[in-house]
Symmetry: C2
Subunit: 603 residues, 2 copies
């Protein structure tokens, strides 16, 4: 039933192009003509036509992404939770388009369409289409709607592959791309599942080499293919929680071969439902398009593919997705970074498996709305007023604070802002909620990016428009090219990383200079406790007991100096700090923390 405030009543529209003698040229070399596209739109196109977002559907999706088709319609579009007023794709702001793919069975030209040459359905005479072919057809639709450049393309699973095809094949037609639960190529395991599904369809005697229209379709085969695929959309954990070993009807086993476990009857139902709404030939064509998707083969390498991207990219993966596991998204993120592209990445913690792209609505809303807002208004952040006044003398942070030195006011932030050159490229390792990068962007107009492990912090960064990738600095920054940043910052993080040597080496590989701040274990209060009491120190800047400290390393200003000397690092600046400001003598004793600017000493 249509809700208030939702995309409400919508209807599917159609556009036809590539009429003979023209045609849509396909990757196979064949030509399809004419091509009809079923599509829906939600929200209003603005006068400058700059707010259009194209939604791209997955294997079994269609043009009906949101809203209801009638007052009595009980089921909304497939991404209704994500599209509408105030939702991730906010129809108060954006003009949303969704079209059915070529090869599909939701109104666009596909194997069940009538071939004008024969007057009969294409069946298997329909040409094989690729993800790029699907996208090429979409470019006609977008042009037909009078849009020269899309604000964004967005999709999950096969929809993410289409977004990648847009970004690599039509880089100047989109401002940004959102790639969710997807992959740069379909791997061996995913091909294997698709192949078994196709085998099940083609083994069904009702299949008749695809020529079953007007007769019974290969329902058993398609149902088996769907049941199988459905398993890959869930996770072991979600199936355990949803079904476990519960039995559908009885308390005890039937001792026969009827479906009796709840998970069996659920899959039976999924199979039956699917058969009613989907064409088996389209299933073959679309899974084949997915299997053929491989950016690395198409462009020679993933890096060569990503080198073509002009769009800002948002890449999202899910921790429990085993169909397109997070590492496949991460490979794309790293290739984009190597190619110095703008990318935001988050691996969303979820039990839902691949289906999470339909279900993790709250997290996606934050990440996508923040990302789209920044895509629409790239200069918004720079136009913000600084949240707090920035001190004007670099070595004397203004406001003394009585709060814990790095739980309350971050004395080192003020100092660091003053150490950074305007308009420089800055990487902040362990960037937290993006506060320092925000200050640097506002005051110094830096081109900044953060690296952060915590999902909450990543969401905060994206919401405030700070580019960020979710990654563990301890696993290296190997994706980031040599000397690609002017400055790399590691603020109050050195003492908690597992491998400080690796992290500092990586910082000075990717950056020309590094700023490192850390609590000074040489601080007199710490030393006196060690000497007199023979105990591990607890002070204001080292506020934890030995047994509950997140700090994996204790080091002093002097330790860090020796480390730099031993590792051929040049100390360009050394700024010892207490809560009252910079410390000018006996710094290893008097400073509670320290900020170092270091570089590689190559001579």
């Amino acid at each position: 039933m249509a809700e208030n405030g939702s995309a409400d009543l919508v209807k599917t529209e159609y556009c036809t192009f590539a009429e003979p003698p023209d045609g849509l040229e396909l990757d196979s070399g064949r030509v399809l003509s004419p091509v009809a596209m079923a599509y829906e739109t939600y929200g209003e196109l603005n006068s400058s036509k700059s707010n259009a977002v194209l939604i791209l559907h997955a294997l079994s999706g269609d043009a009906h992404a949101a809203g209801y088709h009638s007052e009595t319609d009980r089921k909304p579009g497939w991404w209704h939770a994500m599209i509408g007023p105030g939702k991730a794709f906010d129809t108060n702001t954006y003009f949303i388009i969704c079209s059915n793919v070529v090869g599909g069975c939701g109104g666009s030209t596909g194997p069940s369409s009538i071939d004008r040459k024969t007057g009969r359905p294409y069946g298997l005479s329909f040409p094989i289409v690729t993800i790029n072919d699907m996208v090429r057809a979409q470019t006609y639709l977008v042009a037909d709607l009078g849009i020269e450049k899309l604000l964004a393309v967005a999709g999950g699973s096969m929809g993410g592959m289409q977004a990648l095809a847009w970004a690599t094949d039509h880089p100047d037609m989109i401002q940004s791309a959102i790639v969710i639960a997807s992959a740069p190529l379909n791997g061996a395991q995913a091909i294997a599942f698709d192949a078994v599904g196709r085998n099940a369809i083609m083994a069904d005697p009702a299949f008749k080499h695809g020529d079953y229209y007007g007769d019974s379709p290969p329902a058993k085969g398609l149902s088996i293919a769907r049941m199988l695929a459905h398993i890959t959309y869930l996770s072991d954990e979600s199936m355990r929680l949803k079904f476990g070993r519960s039995l559908r009807k009885s308390e005890s086993y039937n001792y026969d071969f009827e479906s009796e476990f709840s998970v069996e009857t659920y899959l039976d139902y999924q199979g039956r439902q699917f058969v009613n709404r989907f064409d088996a030939n389209s299933y073959l064509y679309i899974t084949k398009a997915i299997d053929y998707f491989d950016l690395t083969a198409q462009y020679g390498s993933l890096d060569a593919a990503m080198a073509r991207v002009n769009a800002k990219m948002l890449i999202l993966s899910y921790s429990s997705d085993w169909l397109y596991p997070p590492y496949q998204s991460q490979e794309m993120v790293y290739a984009l970074l190597r190619q110095r592209k703008k990318v935001v990445y988050c691996n969303i913690e979820s039990d839902y498996g691949h289906d999470a792209f339909l279900l993790e609505v709250d997290v996606m809303r934050k990440l996508i709305s923040g990302f789209l807002d920044h895509a629409m208004h790239p200069d918004k952040l720079h136009a913000l007023k600084p949240a707090k006044p920035v001190p004007d003398t670099p070595l004397n942070p203004s406001s003394p604070s009585t709060a814990s030195i790095y739980k309350g006011r971050r004395v080192d932030y003020d100092l660091i802002v003053n150490l950074v050159d305007a308009r420089s490229r800055v990487l902040d390792i362990g960037c937290g909620d993006g506060e320092l990068l925000k200050r640097l962007t506002v005051s110094k107009q830096v081109d900044g990016m953060g690296v952060e492990l915590s999902q909450d912090n990543v969401m905060s960064c994206v919401l405030r428009g700070i580019p960020v990738i979710q990654a563990d600095a301890d696993q290296g920054l190997s994706a980031i090219p040599n000397q690609s940043y002017d400055l790399v910052i590691l603020s109050m993080t050195l003492q908690v990383v597992a491998h400080p040597e690796l992290v500092i080496n990586e910082m000075l590989r990717v950056g020309k200079k590094a700023i490192v701040s850390f609590p000074n274990f040489g601080y007199w209060k710490a030393r006196i406790k060690t000497l007199l009491l023979g105990r591990a120190p607890v002070t204001r800047s080292l506020p934890y007991a030995w047994y509950s400290s997140p700090n994996r390393h204790v080091l002093s200003i002097r330790d860090f100096r020796v480390f730099c000397a031993e590792h051929s690092l040049r100390i360009e600046r050394e700024i010892p700090l207490s809560s009252r400001g910079t410390v000018r003598f006996l710094e290893n004793i008097r400073a509670e923390e320290a900020v170092f600017v270091i570089s590689r000493s190559f001579e």
Copy 2:
């Protein structure tokens, strides 16, 4: 071709039992009569009949586990790499038996057997069998071979389920059980895959409700079931490495629906091969038996099931097995521990997925041969001579050493051995290669178990007969019941665990007393460096630089005393040590390490 030194030429034998009017009573309430069992044996039964090991096969296995059937036979038995002279199941020492399961199609009575009542194959009139039914049939065979008690039962996957059924349903007929890549129940995801496979078979028009004997079998359906199951036996990683996206014949895509990726043609081949050697009805019955397997439902809970076990248990899982993931093995290990059973556990690092139980031969050889040797000779370790003389005065470890205090001679070991009561129950957290437990077993006849994270160390423990489970102490010892040990030891490990507070609390929950040893950060050389140099200390007992130390915590004797006071822990003994022996005054300054005996002070 038969190799030298292998099990060589073997032949399948048969035994028949439960002849009318007797019969094999099944869990369903039906009775099967008569029952034939196909089996093979390798090696010789000793005169005391105490060296018999029953091997239990998985879904598609049979009685032919090792050796060759003829001189021209090109393929040996399915576990040939594991069974033979010098192999994991050493035929020079053990008498190995393997039988085909009831319901199978490898010579034992199954749906393709002739039903004497009708003179025709059973087909679907064959009764549903369970894993327990399979095992009950095996008890007849074992009795027929004159064996009262098996030294061991061992199997992977469904073979592991049979081993579990032996251990819970016939606890006094086995000395030990080896459960590999298995689970205490078939979970929702595993049931789902089985159900899709059964659907594929039953959807094949050649299936004819199971009555296809003498006609064409449902080859397409069975082939699809096998292809699907085969995917679950591999891992994403192994498929990526083995196939990737390579094409079978051409350099470029065919743009049709023939199999073209290598992974497709591989699965086609697996499907075709399987159809030639396996009966579709047996596939239905055996997958149903697997789906019905659930120790928790059978006995009310996993703990109630494990309470029945008398055998020593070896449980092995594989890191990349997603059909029966490691957590399912761990649940069994923890239930066994809660029930105070003898269990050894290792989660073997492997990319091979579920199939690792057929492939990770080297690691399995070490673990299984060590475990079997200990099962055969439980008193062997006690009979060993102590490796090194144990000092006779508890507080004065004899040999001073010039080696690094805990890289060379472990001064604290000698001391700890003297602190332990004879014949007490001892748990050693972070037991390393089992050296301390070995010394305690030899000198004090303790009933010891180790907890260790490193796979290599776990293997060393098993090879020397030390019971060990692979686990992370930082994740708690929650499976171990309250006060189930007299003593829990944490030797030179406190400083590297992430959560010392949790670990110590857990030690004193599961043990009446605890011994903790650690390097003393209060040692004068460490302090002087801190005071004078203002640097993190590097000394003989703290030999690492701040940036490369595995130590996550620095603490001193005094820190630990305060910790005990604050946490209501009673210090029963406190023994400060230097490399020259115990330290009798100024211990927080002069001791390089310390050994504490602590208990919970309840008053």
